[in-house]
């Protein structure tokens, strides 16, 4: 109840929440679709086209659920992360920025495996010699991740242009994301048919 009242007090507008949901759903759907398209050929080769479509349909369903969970998590987090005095637009833009940065890093982490990019041998050797290779790897990762979060946040706090840019990005994303949500709906229909017909 306390959290709910905080929601009301800080007035997350419906439009703002919808915009935040779209930002959360966008990278998750894009990534699901890209990786699914990589899988389609071996899936249809190993099973058949209908099953391959089925895998995609479930994938979209899982992406939708993940989008919802991410949205709820970020919206709740926003209550504690953002100052009371911020406008709804600023708050949504700030949270959207964090979601996008995290998503980009999430993708980069997976792309390293996809493209088989590993740390150079000399770095690995150095870390092993140091005696705490895992800690070393974390420190190296943080040296990239921290500036990529701190710098945009600093720019966001210093200038309204960043807020406006994110708002514009979010508005342009809206039609695209609506198309993805239609894909989700199609996926859900496929899942229902498969579970009814099998």
């Amino acid at each position: 109840m306390n959290i709910l009242s905080q929601f009301t007090a800080r007035r997350y507008s419906t439009r703002g929440l919808w915009s935040l949901f779209l930002i959360c759903a966008f990278p998750l759907h894009v990534w699901t679709i890209i990786l699914y398209l990589r899988d389609v050929s071996w899936l249809s080769e190993r099973t058949n086209l209908w099953d391959a479509i089925g895998v995609g349909a479930y994938g979209l369903l899982y992406a939708f659920v993940e989008s919802l969970l991410a949205f709820i998590g970020v919206a709740l987090l926003g209550l504690f992360l953002t100052p009371k005095g911020w406008t709804v637009e600023k708050r949504i833009s700030f949270l959207s920025l964090l979601v996008l940065i995290l998503s980009i890093w999430g993708m980069i982490a997976q792309l390293l495996f996809l493209w088989k990019v590993f740390p150079p041998a000399w770095i690995v050797e150095l870390l092993i010699r140091w005696g705490r290779p895992l800690l070393g790897l974390y420190l190296i990762s943080l040296s990239f991740v921290v500036p990529s979060v701190v710098l945009p946040v600093y720019l966001f706090l210093r200038s309204d242009r960043t807020t406006r840019a994110i708002q514009e990005f979010s508005e342009r994303l809206s039609p695209l994301m609506t198309a993805y949500l239609f894909l989700d709906l199609a996926g859900l229909i496929v899942v229902i048919i498969r579970n009814a017909a099998m």
């Binding site: 699901t32 190993r46 099953d51 993940e66 997976q110 899942v191």
Partner: protein, 501 residues
């Protein structure tokens, strides 16, 4: 007349109690007038990798010892080269082109829903379990004739993964494949999900933390689940067998040594640097991508077999010590084999070389103390009629198999067929398929309808007696034999296609 039990009397009675209980259980079974049957299937268990059948590595020390009291079939073939056709042939006694369950996660045609090994034992208490999702589809089809179908998830480790099969019970397999692709980021380093995958994997890791040291390569798993322990399944089977009414007919289909080859720590690296060098074989036309680490994959597979070997011994010991073995036909077999050579790893292949189709079959007869080696060619479809014959059931009219030697009087040779047609429509003539015909020493491979094979099909002929590794294709040198076998095979195909023309 003694009116009171002395302490001595009590102790004497207590000492006799277990024996008395066992005797009463056995007498109940004999009075019921039927012998029990227990079929143990280890999935993807290739006869090629079993030391008992000549493999250089001692992969089955326990089974080899037990085999001295069993009937061992050295040339036994599966009906197909993956779970669905292989299991369906074992359970229906007919070949895949008859039961039509030859597609991945396929189902048998309607008539076999009531014509299967469970319906053939109407007076037995019928119990079944499998870890394998595709085999489970078949068991679910037969559930009208099974008294106790143990739920698959019951013997898997609980976790988020079990939500998927319980939510999408009718489409468990594809929902699970998608779940793996979405959530198992550590499988390949990437997954559809960007965040949830990490969260779920971390939570699941915590759940199985204490088991990790026992399974250095990861827990045995059927893909989407959080893993399972073979011991748990074997323990459950032992527990149920000691409680259910007799006579019973049990079908227990365990997933190991199916990939991933995540063996128990007792066997991990058991064959590392053992000096074994697999025979070098040419990359096959059906190798979709050439695996470079096949010797390592084979070693891990062999080490996984050691785990199955131990668990089978444990089950055997239980049956023996409980007295059940005295009245039970125990069968050890598989649904198909496994291949780690010719650029191919696993059994998702259109090729039908010996390792992927030749499987173990051992029959432990009640009271038998000596072993028998059978070298005739036999098929998975023979198991049903043989067990029916041995336990006094009517041999169903529909079966295509025959009673196995040494239980049948005549010793005529038979043609053995294997079929893979996973890309063929279920109710249509066979136009894309891999088939083999084994007759006496010869094995003909016939592949047709694939874009990579010639229009007239690809034919290979091997003398599997003289060349069990199938290294020398004789189709050009013994053309007469190849032509005869091919004609025979085509006639058979025309015959089985007839209802679908």
């Amino acid at each position: 007349m003694k009116k009171q039990f002395s302490r001595r009397d009590f102790l004497k009675l207590a000492g006799a109690l277990p024996a008395g209980l066992a005797a009463s259980r056995l007498s109940r079974a004999f009075q019921a007038g039927g012998q029990n049957v227990v079929i143990v299937v280890f999935d993807a268990f290739s006869a090629y990798n079993i030391s008992l059948h000549g493999y250089a590595r001692a992969t089955t020390p326990n089974i080899a010892r037990l085999a001295q009291k069993a009937i061992v079939y050295h040339n036994h073939y599966a009906g197909g080269n993956f779970t669905t056709p292989g299991t369906a042939s074992l359970l229906t006694g007919v070949l895949p082109w008859t039961h039509r369950a030859f597609q991945p996660k396929g189902k048998v045609t309607d008539r076999f829903v009531s014509q299967n090994i469970f319906s053939a034992f109407p007076n037995h208490y019928r119990i079944a379990y499998t870890h394998n999702g595709w085999a489970n589809i078949l068991l679910n089809q037969f559930r009208g004739h099974i008294n106790e179908l143990i739920q698959r998830e019951k013997l898997l480790l609980s976790g988020f993964d079990s939500i998927v099969p319980s939510l999408f019970r009718e489409d468990e397999d594809i929902a699970s494949v998608s779940w793996v692709r979405a959530m198992k980021v550590r499988e390949e380093g990437y997954a559809y999900s960007l965040f949830l995958s990490h969260l779920i994997e971390d939570m699941q890791d915590r759940q199985i933390e204490n088991l990790k040291p026992i399974y250095p390569r990861g827990l045995p798993t059927s893909g989407a689940d959080n893993g399972f322990l073979l011991e748990t399944a074997v323990d459950h089977v032992m527990n149920r067998l000691s409680q259910i009414p007799q006579p019973f007919m049990g079908y227990f289909h365990f997933l190991p040594p199916h990939d991933p080859y995540n063996t128990h720590r007792d066997f991990a690296d058991a064959f590392r640097d053992d000096g074994f060098t697999p025979i070098e074989k040419p990359v096959d036309i059906f190798a979709k991508r050439v695996f470079k680490n096949l010797p390592a994959k084979r070693r891990e597979y062999d080490e996984f077999i050691l785990y199955c070997d131990r668990e089978f011994q444990r089950l055997y010991d239980f049956l023996e010590s409980s007295g059940l073995l005295e009245n039970t036909w125990l069968i050890l077999t598989s649904d198909h084999g496994e291949l780690n050579e010719r650029g191919i790893s696993g059994h998702s292949t259109d090729a039908l070389y010996e390792p992927v189709v030749r499987i173990p079959l051992m029959i432990f007869e009640p009271g038998r103390t000596t072993g028998v080696d059978v070298h005739e060619h036999t098929s998975a479809i023979d198991v049903l009629p043989t067990l029916a014959h041995l336990t006094g059931q009517n041999i169903p009219q529909w079966v295509e198999g025959t009673i196995l030697p040494p239980f049948r009087a005549d010793h005529r040779t038979r043609d053995i067929y294997v079929l893979r047609a996973n890309n063929n429509a279920q109710y249509a003539p066979l136009t894309v398929a891999s088939t083999t015909l084994v007759r006496e020493n010869y094995k003909l491979h016939y592949y047709f309808g694939y874009p990579i094979v010639p229009q007239e099909g690809l034919i290979k002929l091997f003398d599997v007696a003289a060349d069990p590794e199938e290294m020398n294709d004789l189709s050009a040198f013994r053309k007469g034999i190849a032509d005869d076998l091919l004609r025979e095979l085509k006639e058979k195909l025309a015959q089985v296609d007839e209802p679908y023309l």
